[in-house]
């Protein structure tokens, strides 16, 4: 750190000041104590670094293992009746065009609002989760397929007959033409 002496800052007291300061020394006990504390701090830092080196890979490996192991389980986990994957409601079974026949089938991308109401229930027919709801004097049912939902509405008042119709439908592919 060299200095070019600027003439404006020449100070008579400079030399005595430097001379006096040269006599100020750090006390030996203070230096020794500081070295001890510094060594202790270094030890602490080394231990922390070592801990990080040891634990971080272990934690990362454990987290990775949990993700890897749980993914297939999550994929295979069977859905409960109440957890049938549902699409958000965008329409109503009331909008389904009526053909004038007793039973009407329609392929939709969404589940009718009636089947999301509290009085709707789920049953398993031919190994498939089917949602049911009573509507006016008949029933509506829906089940998920590859192309969305197959919604079946019937004017029959006999639930058992409606189930039989659905079973027949499911045994024959479960898709409307």
């Amino acid at each position: 750190m060299s200095q070019q002496k600027e003439p404006d800052y020449v100070w008579d007291g400079c030399e005595p000041y430097k001379e006096e300061l040269r006599h100020v020394h750090a006390p030996a006990e203070l230096v020794a104590l500081t070295k001890e504390k510094a060594a202790a701090e270094e030890g602490k830092q080394k231990r922390q670094r070592l801990r990080r080196r040891m634990y971080l890979p272990a934690v990362a490996a454990a987290a990775f293992a949990v993700v890897v192991l749980s993914f297939p389980l999550w994929q295979k986990a069977p859905l409960k009746g109440s957890e049938t994957p549902l699409q958000p409601y965008l329409g109503s079974a009331a909008d389904i065009p009526k053909s004038g026949e007793e039973t009407v089938l329609q392929q939709t991308a969404i589940l009718p609002v009636e089947l999301l109401q509290e009085n709707a229930w789920t049953e398993e027919l031919e190994g498939i989760q089917v949602k049911f709801v009573q509507k006016d004097s008949g029933y509506i049912a829906a089940f998920a397929g590859e192309a969305g939902y197959t919604v079946v509405s019937s004017k029959t008042e006999d639930l058992e007959t409606f189930r039989e119709e659905l079973k027949f439908l499911l045994q024959n592919g479960g898709e409307c033409e």
Binding site: M1, Q3, D8, C14, Y17, K18, L21, H25, T34, E41
Partner: protein, 169 residues
């Protein structure tokens, strides 16, 4: 620009006097200077990975010592003395006058005159006259404009001349 290869003990041995002198110069109090001394070297242990080489080390030690002294002084100031008004800032710093008595060589008129300078002048005087740093280097180290350093140095020298000769401004 080599890496910092000195061990901590070697750094303490080499720079102990410098750090202690700055601490004493800044605080005028031996106990505070000792606290600052330890704090500076403990910080060094924590941050030594960020210090590139020995030139950087010296500048780092000076800056940290000055900053620690300011912090220490702030706490002392808050504990003991009521705030001063803005107009009195240019006056000699008397708030640690009692503490100066405890410092080695307090009888030296030159040292005493420097220690009685306002805080912002003391570091500049030390760095310029004792460490023989240039105004540009001081400006860089204290993160001040060169014009500010020049102004402080000029004012400090004027105050010191008056004090040491017993003249009135």
């Amino acid at each position: 620009m080599g890496a910092l290869r000195l061990k901590t003990d070697e750094i303490i041995d080499k720079y102990a006097d410098m750090v202690y002198r700055i601490a004493v110069n800044e605080t005028g109090n031996r106990e505070d200077a000792q606290d600052i001394f330890q704090e500076v070297f403990l910080r060094l242990v924590r941050y030594r990975d960020k210090i590139a080489n020995e030139e950087h080390l010296k500048a780092w030690l000076i800056r940290v010592t000055i900053n620690c002294a300011k912090k220490q002084k702030g706490s002392f100031w808050n504990r003991k003395v009521a705030p001063v008004e803005e107009s009195s800032k240019e006056q000699p710093d008397e708030r640690t006058a009692d503490a100066y008595e405890a410092v080695e060589n307090a009888d030296s008129p030159v040292l005493l005159a420097v220690r009685e300078l306002p805080e912002k002048y003391r570091s500049v005087v030390y760095l310029f006259y004792y460490e023989e740093m240039s105004i540009a280097q001081i400006g860089k180290l204290l993160e001040e404009k060169e014009s500010t350093v020049k102004s402080r140095l000029y004012r400090a020298r004027e105050i010191l001349k008056i004090r040491l000769k017993g003249e009135k401004p």
